[in-house]
């Protein structure tokens, strides 16, 4: 399947992907209206080990531990292999957070799980972080 891969040596640490992610998932058509004065809670996070920065989002694992732990069926693989979240089923137990080895799924303020769904659940249709990364540090390709 097509997945997001990170070329960390190209990452500028500019955090633009975080803002683009928040915009893509806001459901609002204008980036200013979507983000102005708002605290963002994006599905991609730019982290640093002190030497280098890198963008972390869900790896859409082949055998996702989050799905094996999910008690509600809110997490499932779609036909392409992407791991999707059905918020209406989630009971917020946090089992997915307890097992994801990448820290890539979280419980939001709404009390349900959320994570990168490759922009398949919004109007972008392809990952906006990849499209907007100014230095090509995030790519969306077949393995």
């Amino acid at each position: 399947m097509k997945k997001i891969y990170v070329k960390e040596e190209w990452c500028l640490g500019c955090h633009l992907c975080e803002f683009e992610c928040a915009y893509a998932n806001s459901g609002i058509g204008n980036i200013v209206l979507a983000l102005k004065d708002k605290e963002i809670d994006p599905n991609v996070k730019v982290l640093s080990d002190g030497k280098i920065t890198f963008a972390v989002s869900c790896r859409h694992c082949d055998e996702p531990l989050c799905i094996s732990a999910c008690i509600s069926g809110a997490l499932s693989k779609d036909e392409t292999g992407a791991v999707m979240v059905d918020k209406s089923k989630c009971v917020g137990c946090g089992s997915c957070v307890m097992v994801c080895p990448y820290g890539a799924v979280r419980i939001t303020k709404e009390g349900t799980a959320n994570k990168c769904q490759l922009c398949m659940n919004n109007s972008c249709g392809e990952p906006l972080c990849v499209k907007k990364c100014p230095n090509g540090a995030i790519v969306y390709e077949e393995k």
Partner: protein, 409 residues
């Protein structure tokens, strides 16, 4: 076409179906479902009682899950396994198998208590039927006594709260969640919940007298509805009577094979390999049941596969208090408090053995991964690991491989 019979019809069975089908697309699978219901998620019963989910959504992969997977469902109880003839007898019919999985799970433990027969409205809390029966009584109103402050009793209480505030939880133990927490963490949970829950701890039940519970101390508690949540016991009978190796649970190897040929077992019913203690034990957890079932399924279908990374772990939210733990609470303890949150990490010989977090659990899976992989803590400071952990704590090559795509767990 290979014939697979799976006895159970719950989480471990689901894992096995998915394991078998990932290897053998033309598998002929029959599931014998003792609860006479389509597949549902057991942990959701408290959420359904609490109206945080619906009865319909408890069938967490659809009421037609078995049909979608092309599996034959027999709604009934398996009475006997004949390992010579390789058949299972259920509801008077014979079901021949090439490979058999026993995933009969566990059953609430109800000890003989004097006077229990004189209690009019008594319940256990394990199945969907249990939940529906309890709900029917709760809807008529009345005072509730829950005996057992373990995870099931506490989750039940959360559901019961939706119907009445008149509720007491009693336990012999000195604190709630005695098995899933440490004394320190249990005390915090107790303190946070004491304004919501009327606890009677260190309270040994002596007997019932009609709708009155009498404790060893002489204290009496009157109630209308009783819930007994005193733990669960593996249902090992089917295999025990044909000579399987059984301790508290059915003993399986790392492929989830029993000592009997072509017979596998997984889920709450087994004692299987646990990676922190490096020994076999009962785990009785949802992810263990699913992954153990999946391992069994793959092996049954002919793909060699071992399950060596199972560990105890639990995440739950009780009346808004989030409790997340994994591994064993052994070795040297590091504790930190961040605002309202309590966090403790246990390490020995440079590896993390366990942790418990009360409150925020953000990226807890990174700690869990350290435990499962026995990854050395190395330079990382245990306090920092507890304060805020993220992918940057992994060795750089491992992180690069994970994000760059050459590495899959």
């Amino acid at each position: 076409m290979k014939k697979y019979v799976l006895i159970g019809g719950s989480i471990a069975t689901k894992g096995a179906i998915e394991g078998i089908l990932s290897v053998d697309k033309s598998a002929d699978i029959t599931v014998i479902c003792g609860e006479k219901r389509p597949l549902y998620s057991r942990p959701l019963i408290s959420y359904a009682l609490e109206k945080k989910t619906t009865d319909e959504k408890m069938f967490f992969h659809g009421e037609d899950y078995y049909e979608k997977k092309g599996v034959k469902a027999v709604y009934g109880v398996a009475e006997k396994v004949d390992p010579e003839e390789k058949v299972v007898i259920a509801e008077g019919k014979e079901y021949p198998y090439d490979e058999l999985l026993v995933a009969t799970g566990s059953k609430p433990f109800v000890p003989p208590i004097k006077g229990l027969e004189s209690v009019t409205k008594k319940h256990t809390f394990y199945t969907m039927d249990d939940m529906l029966a309890l709900r029917a009584d709760l809807e008529k109103g009345g005072k509730v006594l829950i005996v057992g402050a373990g995870l099931i009793g506490m989750k039940c209480a959360e559901g019961v709260k939706e119907y009445t505030d008149d509720i007491v939880i009693a336990d012999m133990a000195p604190r709630p969640l005695p098995a899933a927490t440490t004394p320190e963490a249990g005390a915090i949970v107790q303190e946070r919940l004491s304004s919501i829950i009327d606890f009677r701890l260190n309270a040994a039940l002596d007997h019932f007298d009609g709708n009155k519970a009498v404790f060893g101390s002489g204290e009496e508690i009157e109630f209308d509805i009783l819930v007994l949540a005193l733990g669960v016991r593996p249902q090992v009978g089917l295999l025990k009577e044909i000579g399987a190796e059984v301790n508290r649970g059915i003993i399986v190897n790392e492929k989830m094979q029993t000592n009997l040929p072509h017979i596998y077992a997984a889920g709450d019913v087994v004692e299987s390999y646990e990676a922190v203690g490096e020994s076999k034990r009962l785990l009785q957890l949802f992810p263990s049941a699913y992954l153990g079932g999946k391992t069994a399924g793959k092996n049954m279908a002919g793909e060699e596969c071992v399950f060596l990374t199972d560990i105890p772990m639990n995440a739950t939210n009780l009346f808004g208090v989030r409790i997340t733990s994994a591994g064993l609470f052994v070795g040297e303890k590091t504790e930190v408090t961040v605002g309202e949150d309590y966090r403790a990490l246990y390490a020995e010989g440079g590896v993390i053995k366990g942790f418990i977090l009360i409150g925020d659990s953000t990226r807890a899976g990174i700690l869990t991964d350290f435990i499962r992989k026995k990854r050395p803590i190395g330079e990382s400071d245990t306090k920092e690991l507890l304060a805020g952990r993220d992918l940057s704590v992994y060795p750089a090559d491992e992180r690069r491989a994970a994000l760059g795509g050459k590495y899959e767990i």
